[in-house]
């Protein structure tokens, strides 16, 4: 028994090192004085962060990415609310196959989605733009949002709705007074997850980017230039902190939702 636990400890230790290796190196190189991203380290500097502040192209890319991420978050959450509500509350013809189809982008290789959207846009004679990336992102984020929101709607006792109705409220008011407050944490979590996925998405963005780059597309372009690498490390550190911050907020809301509906906590999302 003791040996087994010992094995596990070593195994988990190595695993965490493997898992966190890149994430730990990111800030290490971001604060490293040398312009070459390799060991040994040569000293502490915040220079690379200040470089970020003056980089105009980066700011444009960041603004594009933010715009896309916000739009994606709002629209995929909206579409997901409808789908999650429909699938958890109503039984309708072909529900399983419709839901399966809507969830398909979750298991489809992203390159396929990128390629097929590219084909349609070119064939239809549209220009590649930030909109084409946004559409692709809404498509891949919606299934994640549905997964989160379905559990939020599923945790909702149907009799709460009936009780509200029975006590004399209209359907419309029931939605805003009872359903919406109770799934609100799920909606916030869904918005944040979609935002985070979109902000980091590269494969589709690379296929569908026109002349305006998103942040990951910009990073991809810079990876070729060794001199730019420390700056990218600083950027990566900032992005990581933003992502973790957003995730912590999302998790907080999810937990609050669980507490509110009085259902036992069953672990993380995804």
């Amino acid at each position: 028994m003791r040996g087994k636990i010992g094995f596990f400890k070593w195994f988990i230790g190595f695993f965490l090192l493997f898992l966190y290796g890149p994430a730990i190196l990111l800030p290490v190189f971001a604060f490293n004085a040398s312009s070459i991203v390799s060991f040994p380290l040569s000293g502490f500097t915040t220079e690379w962060f200040s470089v970020l502040l003056t980089n105009g192209t980066l700011h444009v890319a960041a603004r594009n990415s933010l715009l896309i991420a916000v739009t994606t978050a709002i629209f995929s959450t909206l579409l997901a609310v409808l789908a999650a509500r429909a699938s958890t509350r109503f039984s309708f013809f072909g529900r399983r196959s419709i839901m399966g189809f809507v969830m398909l982008p979750m298991v489809l290789p992203e390159i396929i989605i990128g390629v097929s959207l590219l084909v349609v846009i070119i064939q239809m004679g549209f220009e590649l733009s930030l909109w084409s990336i946004t559409m692709g992102h809404i498509l891949i984020c919606t299934p994640f949002c549905i997964a989160i929101l379905s559990s939020a709607f599923m945790n909702l006792d149907k009799s709460l709705e009936e009780a509200s109705f029975d006590l004399g409220q209209t359907r419309w008011n029931t939605f805003w007074l009872v359903i919406f407050p109770l799934v609100m944490p799920g909606i916030v979590a869904s918005l944040l997850i979609a935002f985070t996925i979109s902000l980091d998405e590269f494969i589709i963005a690379f296929f569908l980017a026109g002349t305006e780059p998103t942040l990951p597309v910009y990073i991809w372009g810079q990876l070729r230039f060794p001199a730019k690498l420390p700056g990218l490390m600083a950027l990566g550190t900032v992005l990581l902190l933003v992502s973790i911050g957003l995730l912590l907020i999302a998790d907080f809301f999810r937990r609050r939702g669980i507490r509110k509906t009085g259902i036992e906590n069953t672990g993380g999302f995804l």
């Binding site: 596990f8 195994f11 695993f15 493997f18 898992l19 290796g21 890149p22 994430a23 190196l25 990111l26 190189f29 991203v37 390799s38 060991f39 579409l79 997901a80 409808l82 789908a83 429909a86 699938s87 109503f90 039984s91 309708f92 189809f101 809507v102 398909l104 298991v107 489809l108 290789p109 992203e110 390159i111 396929i112 390629v115 097929s116 084909v119 349609v120 070119i122 809404i138 498509l139 919606t142 985070t196 980091d200 998405e201 590269f202 494969i203 296929f207 990951p216 990073i219 991809w220 490390m233 950027l235 990581l240 992502s243 973790i244 995730l247 906590n265 069953t266 672990g267 993380g268 995804l270």
Partner: protein, 292 residues
């Protein structure tokens, strides 16, 4: 008319009405594009114009040309290898969290495991290059301690690097479904097996593993499918021998300007992936039902 009115108020109608925007969006941006890709794969690119006469030439090229055959085989090999490594590493981790972590801390552990996943995707791949490289973290440390004289060269710009990087990227997605499946295993069943005289290892293979198999299969599919479609990892850390089919698809669509061939390659790759996914599912069903 009365019949229609009644139908309009029915559950089925309300549900369909509610889901129609989402479904419409998915039809427009998923079904239509996929159909167009299929159509495109039967056409020919003629410099700047498309020849829309039906031809299977693209598929013949995709399936007979040695380079594509070779790339496809290598992609499959790498993906299967990545999947195997990922699931084999993920299982003990999921088992540890499910069986050896106190319930209160489980959510925290799951969170801990998903955090690195939120590092920028490109950055993560690039950092593996830094870790595995000639002057990288591993070689630097090993030579620094005098364990090796010459830097190890078998870990960068080859298939091993691709496997390590992809496994790292997908491991949280493998741990989660296995963890969920293990959490659902009724602990009294394991106690029952012990009570009936099974040893620890037999207990694991006869009760815990079979009951968590759906999670393992889900993990396998979740990891296997996207890895085939990744063209960034092979490009950054794979070197010339680490390139995969997705790189070729990307090349055909962008630089080589032969979208129909790219489409044929993409459809073929998807077909193969689907075939493997179905095999996994079928194996799962066999396994769950047990040998009969």
């Amino acid at each position: 008319m009365v019949g229609f009115q009644k139908w309009r108020r029915s559950e089925s109608a309300q549900g369909l009405f509610l889901i129609s925007p989402t479904l419409g969006f998915a039809l427009l941006l998923l079904a239509v594009p996929l159909i167009m890709v299929v159509a495109l794969s039967f056409w020919t690119q003629d410099y700047l114009t498309l020849d829309r006469t039906f031809t299977t030439a693209n598929y013949q090229t995709a399936w007979t040309e040695p380079m594509y055959q070779y790339l496809m085989a290598r992609s499959l090999k790498i993906s299967i290898f990545v999947t195997a490594v990922t699931v084999l590493v993920a299982y003990p981790v999921a088992y540890f969290i499910s069986f050896h972590v106190v319930p209160k801390r489980k959510a925290m552990w799951i969170f801990l495991i998903t955090i690195p996943f939120w590092t920028s995707y490109l950055m993560r791949i690039f950092l593996w290059k830094v870790i595995l490289g000639y002057n990288g973290v591993i070689n630097g440390t090993l030579t620094g301690f005098g364990i090796i004289d010459e830097p190890l060269s078998f870990i960068l710009y080859n298939q091993n690097a691709v496997v390590i990087t992809l496994a790292h990227a997908w491991i949280p997605f493998a741990i989660l479904p296995i963890f969920v499946a293990l959490e659902r295993v009724d602990r009294s069943l394991i106690e029952a097996a012990e009570d009936l005289g099974d040893s620890g290892i037999r207990r694991f293979f006869r009760v815990t593993l079979p009951l968590s198999m759906p999670g393992v299969i889900a993990a396998t599919i979740i990891v296997f499918i996207p890895t085939i479609g990744d063209y960034v990892t092979p490009r950054l850390v794979g070197g010339p021998n680490g390139l995969m089919i997705s790189n070729m698809i990307e090349l055909q669509f962008k630089k080589a300007n032969n979208a129909p061939l790219g489409a044929a390659l993409a459809i073929s790759a998807m077909g193969i992936v689907t075939f493997f996914a179905l095999v996994f599912l079928w194996m799962n069903r066999k396994y769950v039902r047990g040998p009969s």
